[in-house]
Every structure is written in structure tokens, then in C-alpha cells.
């Protein structure tokens, strides 16, 4: 078997084969959601905990739907309602959840590396649902899955990622995943939102959005998280839309069938116009649908691998 990891923590560590294993597993799970009875027994008797330290609706719901369609039992823990507020450490929380004989912990955390730390301390599987600015592997996998579904391949594609690259875990995971599969990635943002050394991840950098779009087969538009601009490093919203916002006018100068993606939730009129978000090139809602198949695949693969690890340990 290609997939032997008990955890999915990021795409940086994964090989091309491992990423392809997730994508092909997702393909086979996609059909489940089109059935009248949208359920398979793959994770029956397994328990999945969604441990979310950051507010999130779409990712949490997507994981919950994915787990339920695999027949797992799902429990949601949000930091506001748990002992996390009482000062319990992440590892202690994880160990307590594990003591409930939970099989998979899906963790979203505002600190980079939190999922890695948790995975190191636990025998349960850990799936990273986004850690700080570091990685958001399932988002990138569903972006890649959608792209591949639309264009038939990833190798050789020109993909542009626009927006706050510096603070984006979605950007990092997409860059690792896409480059491993042979795509050519361009990142486009004002200089202050380009983190140092990013070219060493194998990307091209440009500040010119029209140039970045001109050769692109797809553009992944990041959410501008103005609410998180602690260092006051962001351009003003209107200025950003003027210089980097994806508009129909800009798309007309790009390739005709350019794919427009967005991890959501969209700031209409900031990252892209409503016209683009709802337009012909947008695959934003398909990304949401594909997210379920990809997360089903990830939950399934890590659970199976962990089962194997446990069996080997007991032999």
C-alpha cells in the first residue's frame, strides 16, 4: 500500500505517490454523495473528534459530513466550550480525547505546528484541518482534486495563487502539493504579503496580477483576512481590489477557460467581484462538494494505516 501514515499533517512531507493515492481514493468516494442513501460502512464503529481551536464552519462541517458518510461517530469540540479555556494544554486535551478511545482527531489550531505536536504525542490518527500559517492539507488536496477533475491532469499546468501568501496555510499546502505533481506555480501579491525565501519552495513570484493571470490555467484566490492584520501590513481593502481583485475585465485578458478557485469564505468585492465568483470560470461550489470526497479519502486512509500499525505492534 502506498499510504502508510497514521496522520495527515501537511503536504510538504508527502510524496507524489501518496498525494495521488489520496486523489484516487477520493475519486472512488465521490460517488457515495450522489446516492440516495449517502453512506458507506467504511468507518463504522470508529470515532472521529473534530477539535477546533479556531472558529470554522465550512471545514468543520465538511469533515463532519465526510465522517458521517463513512458511518463514523462524530463529536465536535470547539475551544470556547471546552477545558481549553481553563488552561489545559493541547497535549493534555489530546490525551484525554484519546483516552475516550477515539480513532481520529481532526484538529484546527491557530498555532503553526500544533497538529504535528499532537500527532507526536498520540497513537490516535491526527488530521490537520489547518494550523496557523503552516498547512491546510485537505484544502489543497480538494483544490488539486477539483483542478484535476476539470483539466484532466496537474503536471504541466500553470497555477497562480493570488493574495496574502505570507499568512496563508492554504497557499503553502497548495504550493507543496502542486509542485510535487509537476505543476508550475506562480504566487502573486504585493511585496509585503510575500514571505521571505518562498522561491525555495519552487514558485515564481510576481506582483503584477495581469501578468500572473496571462499564462495561468487556473487561479486560486486567497481570502484576505483583514480581521487578522495584527501587524498592519495589509493594503487598504479598496486598494487591494483595484490592484489584485479578480474581475471579469481581468479574466477577459486571461486564457478563456481559466479556472477560478477560492477556499472560502469569499469577501465579495475584495478578492474577486461577485460576477467572477458566480461566473462561468468559477468552480468554488464544486470545491465544496469535492471537499467531502477528499476528506472521506483522508479519514479512510489514515484509519486504515493506523489499524495496520496497531496490528504490527501487537504481532
Amino acid at each position: 500500500m502506498v499510504w502508510t501514515r497514521k496522520d495527515l499533517l501537511g503536504l510538504e512531507d508527502l510524496s507524489q505517490e501518496e498525494i495521488e493515492a489520496v486523489l484516487s481514493t477520493a475519486e472512488s468516494f465521490k460517488e457515495v454523495s450522489t446516492r440516495e442513501i449517502k453512506k458507506v460502512p467504511a468507518l463504522r464503529g470508529k470515532t472521529v473528534v473534530n477539535l477546533f481551536y479556531e472558529p470554522s464552519t465550512r471545514t468543520r462541517v465538511s469533515f463532519e459530513v465526510a465522517a458521517k458518510r463513512l458511518s463514523a461517530d462524530v463529536i465536535n469540540i470547539a475551544s470556547e466550550t471546552s477545558s481549553v479555556r481553563k488552561g489545559e494544554t493541547l497535549i493534555d486535551t489530546g490525551r484525554n480525547i484519546e483516552a475516550l478511545k477515539v480513532d481520529i482527531i481532526v484538529v484546527r489550531h491557530n498555532y503553526s505546528g500544533a497538529a504535528i505536536m499532537l500527532a507526536r504525542s498520540l497513537r490516535a490518527s491526527v488530521v490537520n484541518a489547518g494550523d496557523g500559517w503552516h498547512e491546510h492539507p485537505t484544502q489543497a488536496l480538494l483544490d488539486i482534486f477539483t483542478l484535476k477533475e476539470k483539466l484532466g491532469k496537474i503536471a504541466g499546468l500553470n497555477v497562480t495563487i493570488v493574495g496574502d501568501i505570507a499568512h496563508s496555510r492554504v497557499a503553502r499546502s497548495n504550493i507543496w502539493g502542486l509542485t510535487k505533481l509537476g505543476a508550475k506555480v506562480t504566487v502573486c501579491a504585493p511585496r509585503m504579503l510575500i514571505p521571505p525565501g518562498i522561491e525555495q519552495m519552487g514558485v515564481r513570484i510576481t506582483e503584477d496580477i495581469d501578468e500572473a493571470l496571462s499564462r495561468a490555467d487556473a487561479v486560486n484566490v486567497l481570502r484576505m483576512q483583514f480581521e487578522r492584520d495584527e501587524e498592519n501590513a495589509f493594503p487598504k481593502q479598496l486598494e487591494y481590489f483595484k490592484n489584485y481583485g479578480i474581475t471579469q475585465e481581468r479574466l477577459e485578458k486571461a486564457r478563456k477557460n481559466i479556472i477560478v478557485m477560492h477556499p472560502g469564505p469569499i469577501n465579495r468585492g475584495i478578492e474577486m467581484s461577485s460576477e467572477v465568483a458566480d461566473g462561468m470560470n468559477s468552480v468554488i461550489l464544486e470545491q465544496v462538494t469535492n471537499g467531502i470526497a477528499v476528506r472521506m479519502a483522508v479519514l479512510f486512509l489514515v484509519a486504515a494505516a493506523n489499524e495496520n500499525i496497531k496490528n504490527e505492534d501487537s504481532n
Binding site: 510538504e12 498555532y111 514571505p195
Partner: protein, 429 residues
């Protein structure tokens, strides 16, 4: 009480000595260094194939007492020191309370007198509470026993205040030690700025935040013609700046810590908080530059920057974890492994970095085996290998970046004032 150490390779740079000798220790002093001493002794140690050198003088240590006895105490920290071959430490003043007044020095001296296994020298703070605002009474602190001043952990931002401190330090003949960091530049950073901070999704600490402040501190020292010591140098630019200043004759000295030449930022990629310290681990090129700085004399001293922290302060999210690592028990072996075995320094060269130079810089009568001096010495098996294990640390805290590493060089005996304070049979590695 007589101790006779037989057939040792005795290394004492102060006397240009590197030969097979016997060492006689009597009444706490080095009594004789000679070939084949034929005398009765209370304790005869066969040191064939072993090295005898002056005990390490570690000029950058945090023992946490008073105030943070959960991390380390003078007792546990100096036991760890003895185990690492360190016979003298200079303790940094960032305790609770800060060592910024006569009363607080008295408090610390009381603790040291009761519980220290090795010599403990005191660095008081430059400014009250290490806030960088108001100078301490350096004359009184010196009189009470402080031999150096430092706001370690913080840099004195104000040039006016630092100038005032330098003038006082010169007058009172205490060494001013600079933690050179511009916090306005390093801000909330936690790892080296660049590809490492980017791929980890963490805020970076630029090399600029260090070397710009190193440059400023040296310029002030030059202007006021006052000795100044830069501690924990981590990057090539700092090495370059120090080297140029030394060539111009500026009276400065510098130290680095073992992790800055033995580890690089690669070690931090797994978010291991035992790799988190300030300044952060830098690039491979920086580590090389530190090594060359040690070899060519730009960097005078290796000091541990022993910074114990509890598990609850370290086993948490990387950004929230405390900065700092322990080092007393590993520094000698890391130096042997990385500097001597690689041919970068010879043994006498290493003894200079660890014992002779720091003693000289601090102006203390240590770091030598000259007959008549205090018998602070160590017996080392230079070739023996050991693996660093968490459970074997004598330090109260276990936050070492070297856990799991195989190192060369074992401390067999540590003597302080002629008394055996550590023997490897007791805590075999």
C-alpha cells in the same frame, strides 16, 4: 587531603603545557605538576589516556534561583555543572527578583553559600528590573560581589543609558555583557527569518536584529574605550563585525553557545521546542562562520547559555514555548565532537575557549593549573562516546537540543578546590 592524578595528558594553556604529567592536589590547591611524582596520597587517580584540564568556566548560565526553583536551583544547576566539567559559572541576573540591588545579591550569595557544588560568580543587571530605564548602582553591586553586569534576555535600547553603564563599568572594572538584540526588529519572531520561518508558517527573527545591535554596542564601546563582551553570537554578520572591530583594536570579546555551531535551523523544522532559543538556530553558513570565528580567535569563548525550562513551559505550541535550552552537561562533549574531532581546534585551543579565556575576560583567578592556584580541574576521557539521554540529566529541566545525539568525551572527575564534586561512576553516561 592529598589527591594524586597519575599519567594524565595535562593541558594548561596559561603555562603552554600539553604533556604527560602527574598532578598533585593538596589543601585545595594545585601543589605540583611534574613527571612521575612519587608521593603517598589519600586518593590516587590513574589518568592514563585521559586529559586533565582546568575546569570549564561557563560565563553564561541561568540557575533560576531565586524565584524559579521549579526550573532549576543553585543546587541542581551546579550539580549539573559539575557533571559537565564546569567548575565555575557566571549566573545571569534575570531571576525573580532581578539581581539589581545589594539586598538581592545578598540573598543570592546566601543561597550559593548553602547549596553550590561549583564556584558561582554573579552578574548583576545593568538596569533596574532589566527594564532598560534606570541604571543600577554598579559600584555597590561590585562591592557586594558582582563581577559583571548584563541585562541578558534584553538589550539596553537607549544609547544614553548604555553609555552611562559602560562608563561606570570601566570605572568599577566590571565586565559589561551585551545581549545584542533589537527587539523592534526581532519582534514576535520565533525562528530564523527566511525559508525556515516561511515553510513553518512562523514569524521570523532576522539576523539584522542581532548584528545591527552588535554593531551599535561595539561602536559605543569603541567610542568610550571600554571593554565589552558580546554574548551568544549566532550569525555570520556578527562574526564579521566583531572581527573587523578587533582588527581595529577595539577592546571587545565575544562568546557563542554550542548549539550555534553544532545545529542549524534544519533542526527546528519538526517544531521541537527544544530547538527554540534566542537568538534562533541559523543557517548552515552561519554555523560555519561561527566555527571559523572560533578558530581564528574572533570568538573568544564557548559558553552554554544554560536556560532551564519546565516541561509545561516547553511541551506546548511552538510559538508559546519558552526560549532557551540547557547546556551545562553537554557543552564539553559537543565542543570535543564538533570542534576538536573535526580538527578546527586543537585541545589547548579548546581549553582556551572553555576555561582560560573566560577566566581572563572575567578577571577571575581561574582557568589555569598553575601550581598554587585553586584545584578546579577535570579529568576527561576524550575518545569515549555516549548518547545524550533525557533521563540522565542532573539539571532539574530536561530541555536539551542534544537528546539522542551521540557525542565524544566523558567527564570522569570534576574537582573544585581540590574536592571531588563529580565522579562518572556515580552517574555513568
Amino acid at each position: 587531603m592529598k589527591i594524586l592524578i597519575k599519567n594524565a595528558r595535562v593541558i594548561d594553556p596559561a603555562n603552554n603545557l600539553d604533556e604527560i604529567r602527574d598532578v598533585l592536589v593538596e589543601n585545595g590547591k594545585i601543589a605540583q605538576l611534574a613527571k612521575d611524582i612519587k608521593l603517598e596520597a589519600d586518593n590516587i587517580i590513574d589518568a592514563s589516556n585521559k586529559i586533565v584540564m582546568p575546569g570549564i568556566v561557563d560565563m553564561h548560565v541561568h540557575l533560576r534561583e531565586p524565584g524559579r526553583e521549579d526550573k532549576e536551583t543553585v543546587s541542581t544547576g551546579t550539580k549539573a555543572a559539575a557533571c559537565g566539567g564546569v567548575t565555575s559559572v557566571l549566573v545571569m541576573p534575570n531571576t525573580l527578583p532581578t539581581i539589581d540591588s545589594v539586598e538581592n545579591i545578598k540573598l543570592l550569595k546566601g543561597i550559593i553559600k548553602q547549596s553550590a557544588y561549583v564556584n558561582v560568580f554573579i552578574a548583576a543587571s545593568i538596569t533596574k528590573g532589566r527594564k532598560g530605564e534606570e541604571l543600577t548602582d554598579i559600584a555597590k553591586l561590585k562591592k557586594e560581589g558582582a563581577i559583571a553586569i548584563s541585562d541578558d534576555g534584553a538589550s539596553v535600547d537607549s544609547e544614553i543609558i548604555l553609555s552611562g553603564a559602560l562608563k561606570k563599568a570601566k570605572k568599577e572594572v566590571v565586565l559589561l555583557i551585551c545581549h545584542s538584540e533589537d527587539k523592534a526588529l526581532s519582534a514576535a519572531g520565533v525562528v530564523n527569518l527566511g525559508f525556515t520561518s516561511t515553510r513553518m508558517g512562523l514569524r521570523g527573527i532576522s539576523k539584522e536584529s542581532e548584528y545591527k545591535r552588535v554593531r551599535r554596542d561595539i561602536e559605543l564601546a569603541a567610542k568610550l574605550n571600554t571593554p565589552l563582551h558580546i554574548t551568544h553570537v549566532s550569525c555570520s554578520e556578527s562574526v564579521e563585525i566583531i572581527s573587523r572591530a578587533k582588527k581595529k583594536g577595539v577592546n571587545i570579546t565575544a562568546d557563542t553557545a554550542p548549539h550555534y555551531f553544532s545545529l542549524t535551523e534544519e533542526a527546528v523544522l519538526g517544531y521541537d521546542t527544544n530547538m527554540k532559543m534566542n537568538p534562533p538556530l541559523r543557517s548552515k553558513e552561519d554555523a560555519e562562520s561561527i566555527k571559523h570565528g572560533l578558530a581564528d580567535g574572533t570568538i573568544d569563548v564557548v559558553a552554554s547559555d544554560h536556560a532551564p525550562h519546565t516541561e509545561s513551559e516547553k511541551e506546548i505550541e511552538f510559538e508559546r514555548a519558552e526560549f532557551g535550552v540547557i547546556g551545562l552537561e553537554t557543552e564539553l562533549a559537543v565542543c570535543i565532537t564538533e570542534l576538536v574531532k573535526s580538527g578546527l581546534l586543537d585541545w589547548p585551543g579548546l581549553v582556551r575557549k572553555l576555561a582560560f579565556n573566560p577566566a581572563k575576560i572575567l578577571g577571575i583567578n581561574k582557568g589555569t593549573l598553575t601550581p598554587g592556584s585553586d584545584a578546579d580541574l577535570i579529568v576527561v576521557s576524550p575518545e569515549n562516546e555516549w548518547v545524550v539521554e533525557k533521563k540522565r540529566f542532573l539539571s532539574k529541566s530536561k530541555n536539551s537540543p542534544f537528546i539522542g545525539k551521540k557525542l565524544k568525551g566523558i567527564v570522569e572527575y570534576t574537582l573544585v578546590a581540590g574536592k571531588v564534586v563529580y565522579k562518572s561512576e556515580i552517574h555513568p553516561h
